[in-house]
Each structure stands twice: as structure tokens, then as C-alpha cells.
Symmetry: C4
Subunit: 201 residues, 4 copies
Amino acid sequence: MSTSRLETFADGVFAIAATLLILNVDAQIEGSEDLRHQLLHIWPSYVAYAVSFLTIGILWVQHHTFMEQIERTNRTFLFLSVGFLMGVAFIPFPTRLVAENIREEGAQAAAVAYGITLIVMAVMFNAVWLYAAVGRRLLKEDADPRVVSGITRSYLPGPWIYLVATIVAVVHPTAGVVLFAAIAIFYVAESSLFGRDEAPS
Amino acid sequence: MSTSRLETFADGVFAIAATLLILNVDAQIEGSEDLRHQLLHIWPSYVAYAVSFLTIGILWVQHHTFMEQIERTNRTFLFLSVGFLMGVAFIPFPTRLVAENIREEGAQAAAVAYGITLIVMAVMFNAVWLYAAVGRRLLKEDADPRVVSGITRSYLPGPWIYLVATIVAVVHPTAGVVLFAAIAIFYVAESSLFGRDEAPS
Amino acid sequence: MSTSRLETFADGVFAIAATLLILNVDAQIEGSEDLRHQLLHIWPSYVAYAVSFLTIGILWVQHHTFMEQIERTNRTFLFLSVGFLMGVAFIPFPTRLVAENIREEGAQAAAVAYGITLIVMAVMFNAVWLYAAVGRRLLKEDADPRVVSGITRSYLPGPWIYLVATIVAVVHPTAGVVLFAAIAIFYVAESSLFGRDEAPS
Amino acid sequence: MSTSRLETFADGVFAIAATLLILNVDAQIEGSEDLRHQLLHIWPSYVAYAVSFLTIGILWVQHHTFMEQIERTNRTFLFLSVGFLMGVAFIPFPTRLVAENIREEGAQAAAVAYGITLIVMAVMFNAVWLYAAVGRRLLKEDADPRVVSGITRSYLPGPWIYLVATIVAVVHPTAGVVLFAAIAIFYVAESSLFGRDEAPS
């Protein structure tokens, strides 16, 4: 019934998915010819690495935050969590697609695949949290209702924000990708700078 | 004698095996030509990813459940656990075979390899649990006999169910693979929906 | 000063090194032609996977056992542990060499590389343990001297046993590889069957 | 607010980044021809593996050391930690570049890429620590001011040392790489040998 093994498993998936991202950068270097030029040319790989690592880092922090409110688990909650982690572990794949194709013909397909992954993942994230929070099903007895509804309010827009960015990516792939980056950076800036230091984290 | 390091190691193997599955999807994309078509064409990879991730997730939940009943470990138990985890860590390999070959000539070999992996893994899983449970060898003093025999009853059919699915896969590979997916989905649905919320997990 | 983060890090390296072994099996399948034949033909990969997974599992159990005796860490102990884990994480590489070359011209080089890896790793393992145990430098106050000297006695032969197997591998690679497998299996059988159930583990 | 999940996530990234380094060695072996010669020829891969594994091990020990002084986390601290771990997880990429190119035309580009990665990572490391330590923002109440300022003094030179080594690498790539190795070895020797056994670790 305790939440500690879920946290170990989840932290493992977060850490591995984030660390595997470097394999995508690695795969862009072909042979040894003109290495300096190659290293400069693959700059979208570095950006994609940073954005996806940061996105996974944000998910980890958010997971961390909401697990603080949760007292116990049950089967449904564990399987919803597995579904959410399935989305997290998927992120390295569209990350490589974007890094490899953003300057090519396949930019649209890659950016949309990235967006769909984030939408599905954000929907699952909401499902996990709402399952635990609705009717305070799995919450700690002393979980502050304002904190709980604050978490709910901050997660609900996630899928819609990613949906908008994905629609932008259909029309203009590069603009969509810039939006994905901007969402991550804005989230970090906003939650770090504006009075959240006191928030449970 | 404590079980905590076994859980850390096991959770690590579960998390890594599940997260490595994405490399199989990744490997299906060749170059950048007609990316949109490629992304649609490799749909069996997504299904295989989801089914194997879910199967590993189920194993993790089940491992979680039975470790709750266990007080201490010994050498034999640890080595049986290593054997079981050897099966879990093997799953990404036949998953890729199925994803790559289900529409090709090699469908039968791939589906049977997948089935054999699951059979071996399920046999090892039973061996681990039965070693701990028979004569209450490693169980907690207060482990409820009904919970213990409930766990035993729910694990024993595992190898047989996978054996049947594997035999089906010999005759009709696609039907076998559909069965592997159905087994995972049925398990999640059954254990989530039918009054298991109160079960220790 | 506590040992818990060392255990988390070590368990991570053990779990990842063991789980990465499957990538070696994966790499043996080339394309989709005559998959059934390929799957049978690469049987040395399965054996190599099992032997290396088991070897890493044994190291994990042994690490588990001796950490039970240890009260605290210091810098030297942590860096010796890093050196030992460097050996553990190296194992997947010679494992693939053996799997790929045991029936080829390169069998000798592969088997010797495997042996040297195990020798270096076993030497480091002894260094870690002896550093902690000599003069009871880092041991728990209540560590039983008989258990401590029992651990020392059981680790000291490790490098020599692997040295003998490596010398055999120089003369006859396949015999050497059979020895590596036999050492792992013998260890598991011996420590599981002969009255070790009461030992701390 | 606790630091335990940060430690689990960080230990995961350290362990995975270190263990993935072996894939770089693996990738240097092409086919099975003249395996013995190949294994000797790729010696820079072994050196690169050892130096990067040791560097990551040192970072892990240092992270371990300073987390001992920290009482709680907040969002900014968590995101700075994510940024630092982004640098750690990047290390396998320039490690492979150096291993592959140190005897080729691309030696300079590879060594400089390695150096820039270490500079960025060391800057992030200082940012994480200084954010926690300045004004004792996140420190334990009983954190010894001398230990705290000792940690600060030992981290501040890091980016400058790596900057010097990187400048050397621009002029003479091999000398730069020797410097990167020497820095790691010197750190281990110094902190192990000179009276640090009593230091918290």
C-alpha cells in the first residue's frame, strides 16, 4: 500500500528515459570526417536533447510534488501510473525524429509525432492525478484542499497547451518545436521565480 | 536479510527493461525519406511497445504485491529472483522480433520466441513465489493465509495461459500476438475493476 | 557517512549492466531472412546472456552480503567501489565478443578479454572488501568476526579461479568459456544448497 | 520537501550515464576480423571509458557529500539539479568522440567537445551548490560553516581547471586529454590519501 516502490520505479523510468536521450545525439555523428563541422551542424540535436531532458525533468518534479499528497496506492492507480510512464519512456523516440528531420522534408511528421506523444503523456498524467484526487480517494488525510485543487488547476491545461503547439506544428513545424521549448522554459521560469519556493516540492 | 535491496535491484531491472523497449521502435525508422509514411507503417512497433511495457508493468505490480508478504530473503530466494529478472530483461528482444516480423515471413518464429520468453519468465515467477510461500518459508509472521493462497492461485495459471497463446502462435502468429495483448489487457481490467482496490498492492 | 546512497548507485549499475546484456543478443539478428534459423543459430548469445546475467547477479548478492557488515563509508572506500563498478559495467562488452566469436577465428581473443575483465573485477572486489575489513576499518561494531573472516576467505580465491579459467581459455577458448559458466553455476548451487540459508544475505 | 527522491533520480542518472559508457567501447569493434588486433588497437576507448567513469564517479561522490549538508529542496534547486544532471548525462557522447578520433584528424574537435561538456557541467554543479549554500538557503541547521565553506572552496576552481585543460586541448588535443585524465586521478588520490577519511562522505 505504500508509495515508495512506485516512486523508485517511476524515478528509474524518468532517469533512464532522460539519460537515453544522449544516444540520439550520438547517432547523428557519422564517421570521423570533418568532425568539427559535423559537431556544429547537428545543433538541433543539442536543442532537442535539452528540451526533452528538461521536459522529463519537469514531469519528474511534478510527479514528486503530487506524490507528496498521496497516502497509498491501489491497482488502478498503479496501472494508470504504468500508462503515464509508458508515455514518458516514449519521449526519446520523437525527440530523435525532430532532431534529425527539423531541417528536412520530414519536419512536419516529426514535430507532430513529438506533439502527439506529449499530449498522450499529459492526458495520462491528468488521469493518474485525478484518479487519486477525486473524492480524495488516495490522498493523505492532512492534504491541504487548496494545495490539491492548485495541483489540479495547474495540470488540467497541459494537454490543451500541447494540443495547440501540435496544431501549430502541423502548419509550421519549426514554430511548433519552438513552442514545445518555450512551454518547458516558461514552466521552469514561472515555477522557480514566482513565489513557489515555499511550495511543497 | 531485509528485502529492500532486492526491491531496488528488481525495480531497476523492471524500469530499464521497460524503458529500453523504445529503442526497438527507434530502430524501425530508416533514414528520413517519407517520414510520415514510415511512422504510420511501423504501427506494429507501437502496439508491441505498449503490450510489452504493460506486461512488464503487470509483473512489477505483481512483484510489488507478493514482496509485501515477504519478511526476509536468503541466497536461494535471491538467485531465483535473479533468474526471474533474467526473463524480464529478455523481453525487449522478442518484442523487437515481433514488431519487425509480424507482417513478414518470420512472424511465426518471432511470435513463438515471444511466447517462450513469457513462459520461462512465468515459470521463474512461480518458482520465486512458491519457494517463499511453501511452508511459509520466508513469509511475514502476520501474512494472511487467504491472501497467500490467493496469490498462489492467481500465479499458477500464468505459464499455462502463455503456453496456450504460444501454441496458437505456432498455428497463426497474428492470433497468438493478439492473445498476448489480450492477456495483458484482461489482467489490468480485471484487477483494476473487480473489487481489488482493497487488495494490498 | 551512511551506506544507503552507495547501495542505490551500485544497485543501479548492477541492474543496468545486467539489463544492457540483451542488446548483445539483439545485435546478432541481421534482417528478417530465415528468422527461425537465425534464432537457433545464435544460441551462444543466449548462453552468454545467461552466464553474464548470473555472474552480475552473484556479484550483486555478494555486494549485498558484505555491505550488511559495513557501518560507514569514506572517500577511499567510495572510489574503490567506483573502480569495482567500472569492472561490472564493462562485462557486457566481452560478453558480446564471446557470443559473436566463440565459433570463429576470434574465439581466443574474445574468451581472454572476458577472463581479464572478470580478473580485474574480482581484484577490485577484494580491494573494496579488504579496505573495509582490515583492522575492521569500516565494519559495524557488532560485525561477527567469524562472518567477516568467512567473507574474506570466500572472496580471496576469486581472482585466482578466474586466472586459471583465463589460462585455459588461452589454450582452448571453448573450454575456458565453459569454465566461466561452470564457476557461476557452481557458486549458485553451492551457496544455495549447502546450509547458507541462515547466512545473512 | 525531502531530498530522498532527488537522490534516487540523481543516482539513477549517474549510474546510467556511467554504465552507458560501455556502448562506446562496444561500437569500436567492427565485425570479427582479426579480433585480437582490434582489441589492442582500440585502447584509447578503454582509457576514455575509465576516465569518464571515474569523472562521473567523482561527481557522484561530491554530490553525495554536499547533499549531506542539505535539509530540503525547492523548485529552483530541483531544476538547477536537472540542469546539472543534463550535463552528466551528456558525458558519454564526447567520450565516444574522443575515443574514436584522438588519433585522427578530428582529435581537436573531439577533445574540445569533451572539455566544453565538463565546463558546462562544472558551472551547473557550482550553481546547484551555491544556490543552496548562499545565505544557508537550504542547508541543515547544524551544517558546520567550516564544512560548507570548505565545499565551496573545493568546487569553485572546477570550471577554471576544465577551462585551462580545454584551452590546452585546442593547442594540443592529446595533451588536453591527458590533462582531463590527470585531473580525475589527482582528485581521487588527493581526496583519498590526505586526511579526508574523516570527512563526511
